[in-house]
């Protein structure tokens, strides 16, 4: 078996790649549903209507998509420069922690700061927390050559334990009756909701704006060019006079900051306080989203909405016909693998010999 690059790149083949990937994902997940003796068509129609079938479904899906856009962007930024940040999960939690440290109701009242000051402070703190957390593995990579994949993964576990420790200690909610939960965020700092009955909040608008902004930076600024150059070929970039290490570190700060903000948006938009199950693996799902979007920031928005719809739809399908919600995670994983394969086959011809 051999891979031969196509001589003429075709937009058609690239455009069809996601279609093939989606078809393969649907087929393979049908096999799973069939295997546990559940009705296939009914399962998919329940999944679709649960995720996209009503105003309420859209509200839930877009609420779920908000942190996914952010972690997807964090992964897309870093992966573009070949900085494999697998630590968005930890950065999200540390961001949430920083947000509550600034904006929480400590001692029942919180810090005596006006909202116009504490709101931006809260967001800055969250971004800074995420950025600094990723700076550690990035520095270890540029200074000592330590592979960042393992260090960012291990930092996720360390961060989650740190959060757990603080929820037992100084950040503990005095009214939580032993449930591990942080003090609540000052209600004045919460993000505004579109409607009383729905959970969708203004974090979504900020996430989409951020995606557009990062798309702009990537495409039209020197820094964006440097990130792409470092990712495409670090040696050539160095030869061309690009300070590779510094670009790496700046990329890390940006990626970590976006993931940290995801945590602030979750606390301020949805949960109001930190719990240990606040993120069901948003950081890891963000990597899948970034890959599905081929690392394109605007594509991340669409991929995140799609994945969020699958996750939300799977919840309601599971309630209706008892197929485990883990089906959604399987679909996410299969879509990643089939997308990788179909993009490869759009660029290379497979020769069996």
């Amino acid at each position: 078996m051999q891979l031969i690059p196509y001589a003429n790149p075709s937009r058609w083949r690239m455009a069809l790649a996601p279609v093939w990937a989606l078809t393969a994902t649907l087929l393979l997940s049908s096999v799973l549903i069939w295997w546990i003796n559940a009705p296939i068509l009914r399962a998919f129609s329940l999944l679709l209507t649960g995720g996209f079938g009503s105003l309420f479904a859209w509200s839930e899906t877009l609420t779920r998509a908000t942190p996914l856009i952010m972690t997807g962007l964090a992964a897309a930024i870093a992966f573009r420069a070949r900085l494999y940040n697998i630590g968005a999960e930890g950065q999200l939690y540390l961001g949430a922690l920083a947000a509550v440290a600034i904006g929480g109701m400590h001692g029942g009242t919180g810090w005596p700061l006006p909202v116009w000051l504490s709101f931006p402070l809260m967001l800055i703190a969250a971004a800074l927390a995420g950025a600094l957390l990723l700076l550690i593995p990035a520095l270890l990579k540029t200074r000592f050559g330590v592979d960042e994949v393992v260090t960012t993964l291990l930092l996720n576990f360390i961060t989650l334990l740190l959060v757990s420790m603080l929820l037992d200690g100084p950040m503990k909610d005095p009214l939580s009756m032993g449930w591990p939960q942080s003090v609540a965020l000052n209600p004045a700092l919460e993000l505004s909701r579109l409607s009383e009955k729905m959970r969708i909040h203004s974090g979504l608008a900020m996430a989409v704006l951020l995606a557009l902004l990062i798309g702009f930076v990537n495409r039209w600024t020197v820094f964006g060019f440097e990130m792409r150059a470092v990712g495409a070929n670090a040696k050539a970039a160095r030869f061309a006079g690009i300070p590779v290490e510094r670009v790496m570190l700046k990329t890390a700060l940006l990626s970590g900051a976006v993931a940290g903000l995801a945590g602030a948006f979750e606390v301020a938009g949805r949960t109001s306080y930190i719990t240990l199950d606040m993120s069901p693996g948003y950081g890891y799902t963000g990597i899948v989203i970034a890959m599905l979007a081929a690392l394109n920031p605007v594509g991340v928005v669409f991929a995140a909405v799609f994945i969020a719809g699958v996750l939300v739809g799977a919840d309601s399908m599971s309630r209706a016909i008892g197929v485990p919600t883990y089906l959604a995670d399987v679909i996410v994983a299969i879509s990643l693998v089939s997308m990788l394969i179909s993009v490869m086959l759009a660029e290379y011809k497979l020769l069996w010999k």
Partner: protein, 307 residues
């Protein structure tokens, strides 16, 4: 003084080997893959799949050793998929490996929840018994899987350094073009190494459900796979050092458990103790980073005729 008491007790060293066994299997598995030039970040998920498949086979009435074999086969199957993606299709080894982890984990959880939709207490099996008939201290407190892990280390070291096959594997990880020049298939060798290594990862998972505990539960692997990836770097890709590294790591882990019990949560929050293994892994990586002799072709996909 109390520390001395702990270290001199047989119970402590039994615990060390107990904690170390899945790490030995997993680290040897990663080592095999990486020596052939393939990073396998699928380990975390493959361990979950091995833990589930092995336990489920035994739960369905299979013997314990058959359960281990099922776990190894499950691991090998995911290894084959990883080889297809990262060796044959030359995809990014990082991303393919993470994909395998997500896939194997979610499939295992899906299968577990489909089979046992409502249970809140995990169903149990009768796990491997301790080898109390063995007259050797510490070892008599272990299950046969630990013995297997200990014996596997010299076997793999011998195979890697003293057999033509092992030479081919190491060469595929250092200089694949030289393998091709010998008339051997780089893709074939790498596939074999990844499949074998992933089978070991499956067994590492099976140890958790068939020996350490007697049931499958969510988050059973809890980062052990990632720690194995770190341990291989620490061991500079040598089987003997991998064994030593895994045991050293397990010693720290057992020690922190004892200290946690001693302090009774009065001195320090228990989370600090739980953090230690992860922090130690990072420190270990930094310490060896300067001198780390990465296999030269690690993470570099091989395409025929390409330089």
């Amino acid at each position: 003084m109390e520390l001395l008491n702990i270290l001199s007790g047989e119970v402590f060293w039994i615990a060390v080997l107990h904690i170390g066994t899945p790490l030995i299997f997993g680290t040897l598995g990663v080592l095999l893959c990486e020596r052939s030039g393939v990073l396998n970040l699928g380990i975390e998920g493959i361990m979950v799949a091995g833990a589930f498949a092995g336990w489920f086979a035994v739960y369905q009435g299979a013997g314990l050793w058959l359960g281990v074999a099922v776990a190894a086969l499950t691991g090998a199957a995911f290894g084959l998929l990883h080889a297809f993606l990262s060796v044959w299709l030359a995809l990014s080894q990082h991303v393919a490996g993470l994909g395998i982890t997500l896939l194997a984990t979610s499939l295992s959880y899906f299968a577990y929840r489909s089979g046992f939709p409502t249970v809140s207490i995990p169903p149990t099996i009768q796990p491997f018994a301790e080898m109390s008939w063995l007259g050797i201290p510490v070892l008599r407190g272990q299950t046969p899987l630990t013995l297997l892990a200990l014996m596997l280390t010299p076997v793999i070291a011998y195979a890697l350094y003293r057999t033509p096959l092992g030479l081919a594997v190491r060469m595929a990880g250092e200089n694949p073009a030289a393998v091709e020049a010998q008339g051997l298939s780089v893709h074939g060798i790498r596939t074999g190494a990844v499949v074998a290594g992933s089978a070991l990862m499956g067994v590492a998972g099976a140890f958790l459900t068939l020996s350490a505990f007697n049931a499958f539960f969510f988050n059973i692997v809890n980062g052990r796979g990632w720690i194995c990836v770190a341990l291989v770097v620490f061991a500079s890709w040598r089987p003997g050092k991998a064994l030593a590294g895994a045991l050293l790591f397990a010693t720290f882990e057992a020690l922190q458990l004892r200290l946690q019990l001693l302090s009774g949560g009065a001195l320090l929050p228990y989370q600090l103790f739980l953090m230690l293994p992860y922090i130690l892994s990072i420190i270990a990586l930094v310490l060896v980073a300067r001198s780390a002799a990465y296999p030269q072709a690690l993470m570099k996909p091989y395409r025929k005729g390409e330089r």
